[in-house]
Amino acid sequence: MRKGQPDRLTTGLMQQIADRSEPVELSYREAVRAAIRDAMIRDERVFLMGEDVGRYGGCYAVSKGLQAEFGPERIRDAPLAESGFTGAGVGAAIAGMRPIVELMTVNFSLLALDQILNSAATLRHMSGNQFGVPLVIRMATGAGRQLAAQHSHSLEGWYAHIPGIKVLAPATLEDARGMLWTALQDPDPVLIFENIVLYNMMGKLAADAGPVEIAKAAVRHAGRDVSLITYGGSLWKTLEAASLLAAENIEAEVIDLRSLRPLDDATIIASVSKTRRAVIIDEGWRSGGISAEIYARIVEQAFWELDAPPGRVCSEETPIPYPRHLEQAAIPQASKIVAAAKSALGRGG
């Protein structure tokens, strides 16, 4: 959060939510905070652990105020030791707690990957179902803030390769508010990726908004001409593209995957079978990204329904550069999505 910018107090928000009055206006950041707070209140086994989640208030101000409310044991500031405290989350989860580990950003999660892949993801299977790991790991992801090559990764789709974990990408306030609790109920490790450009997004949310299911993709905009399949930060660019296409009488259907592992094949295939054309939009690098998996699944399951090869709009295959114009050129944009959709419709330039 930019310094000095006023931040709505979670307590006030929660009060409003508790009133179950009209929909309230809040930011994505506040929705995540409300979700954490809610979980902390509902289940005393829940705690939040990560770098600067406490006194600092979270690197993106998500957990601001929570340490004052829940104390330093349950809103636990961790030293810079990503592998250590992620592994500690694994251990605490096995022992019956419900830790939320915050890895600050996906860029630093690489330091914890051994614990995620070799411990969290394998323990239930290799112990013959004796030790499950009900751990939630949250992290920020994505480019768009000019943070350059080491701080702009979009690796959520890459993580979705790993059996044994689930991968969620809340794109809406409702999901930011609702996915956490559902993830905490899951007996297995769940990774939640919050796109950094969404934190400041404002919107309305039902005052009594609560947990949401996490198994299904959502059709965020119905259309019959082409399926635009995306998730996370790219959802909003895709919806913008759908508006632009509508102006040209192209009715795009926009699917928000919500979960990257497992993927909701049924929703994807139903849409593509209807529209017969698809474009996948993903802020990850193209080669070997989740876009390729979605691509393969569409063709595997709907080859005979397709009128054209699906398209992909992904990030350029290069580390993200610092200057704004280059950064924006590197990642998906509404204009590129429009072009890809038209090209899928044989109306390319």
Partner: protein, 330 residues
């Protein structure tokens, strides 16, 4: 405070039991080595031969509610902890009756019933988990101890550093047990650590520590008693370095080019079983019949375990992917 910690059980029965446990581990692993050559056991097999005094000295002092995190060289830990020998062996056969349902093999013995959090095949990978187990206990104010075993090689890993710091910083009841057998595979300690006196490293984290002769089961037991007592009373971590030696190859694939036969022979003469037995004999605490009885009991248990493992069943391939996620959630 636990009875186990309170009274040093220096009775003859206790001494004999210590000896028996060490012999039991040794004979069991001799059998495993034999079964490996018969290809009943496959994959990597890491034997504990020479290091039995560590498991035998430390583990019986833990309460059943305490927790244990181990490595891929964990047969001795599992047996001492009470994982049934037949379940451990069936696991190494890959049979469904194994303590991990046959999925894990030699490097992945798990047992919820005894709070045995596994075999871990990633060097250093268990340390953060131990910190987390202890963190759960700390947050719930449960006075359990988590004992975390690892080798000298693990000391060089970043996770060693991160875990010791976290445990000390957060005042967590972890007993770190470094089994320093002087080698990490073929890498001698001096090629792996600039400071080879490992227990000194604990000071960097303000963790109390002690080094003990890991070939002397009585010394290990005494040190472990102090250590466990300290963890239980203070809730703080403690670092115990057990200086020991691995008599056999690192795994069954190791030609041992990195050390002399003579070195191994010299250490064998200091072996924990030989030494303890000699001491018991010198002190007339043991009779030839005792040894015979122990060997017979152990042999019978091993024979039972082999029969059990042989008779075990193979998991059908249809359920291969089961337990990737909890049943009914994926």
């Amino acid at each position: 405070m636990s009875a186990a910690v309170d009274k040093p059980r220096l009775s003859r029965a206790h001494e004999l039991d210590l000896l028996k446990q060490m012999i039991r581990i040794r004979r069991f692993e001799d059998a495993c080595a034999e079964l490996y050559t018969q290809e009943k056991i496959r994959g990597f097999l890491h034997l504990y031969d020479g290091e039995e005094a560590v498991a035998a000295g430390v583990i019986p002092l833990l309460e059943s509610r305490d927790r244990i995190v181990s490595t891929y060289r964990e047969h001795g830990h599992a047996l001492m902890r009470g994982v049934p020998m037949k379940a451990a062996l069936a696991e190494m056969y890959g049979k469904q009756e194994g303590c991990s349902g046959g999925r894990g093999g030699s490097m992945h013995l798990f047992d919820r019933a005894t709070n045995f959090y596994g075999g871990n095949a990633i060097v250093g990978g268990g340390l953060p988990m131990a910190v987390g187990l202890a963190l759960a206990d700390h947050m719930r104010k449960e006075n359990n101890v988590t004992a975390c075993f690892f080798g000298d090689g693990a000391v060089a890993e970043g996770e060693f550093h991160e875990s010791l710091n976290l445990a000390a910083l957060w005042t967590l009841p972890v007993l770190f047990v470094c089994e320093n057998n002087l080698y990490a595979m073929g890498t001698a300690l001096a090629l792996s650590e600039s400071e080879t006196d490992i227990h000194l490293k604990a000071a960097s984290y303000r963790i109390a520590s002690e080094a003990v002769d890991g070939m002397d089961v009585i010394a290990v037991e005494a040190a472990a008693r102090r250590a466990i007592q300290a963890v239980r009373q203070t809730g703080k971590p403690y670092f115990l370095e057990c200086r020991t030696y691995r008599f056999r190859a690192h795994s069954m694939f190791d030609a041992q080019l990195y050390r002399d036969k003579a070195e191994v022979e010299a250490w064998r003469k200091k072996g924990p079983i030989l030494r303890f037995r000699g001491w018991l004999e010198a002190n007339h605490m043991i009779h030839p019949e005792d040894i015979a009885r122990i060997e017979a009991e152990v042999a019978a248990e091993i024979a039972d375990a082999v029969a059990f493992a042989e008779a075990g069943t193979w998991e059908p391939v249809e359920t291969l992917a089961r337990f990737t996620y909890a049943e009914g959630t994926a």
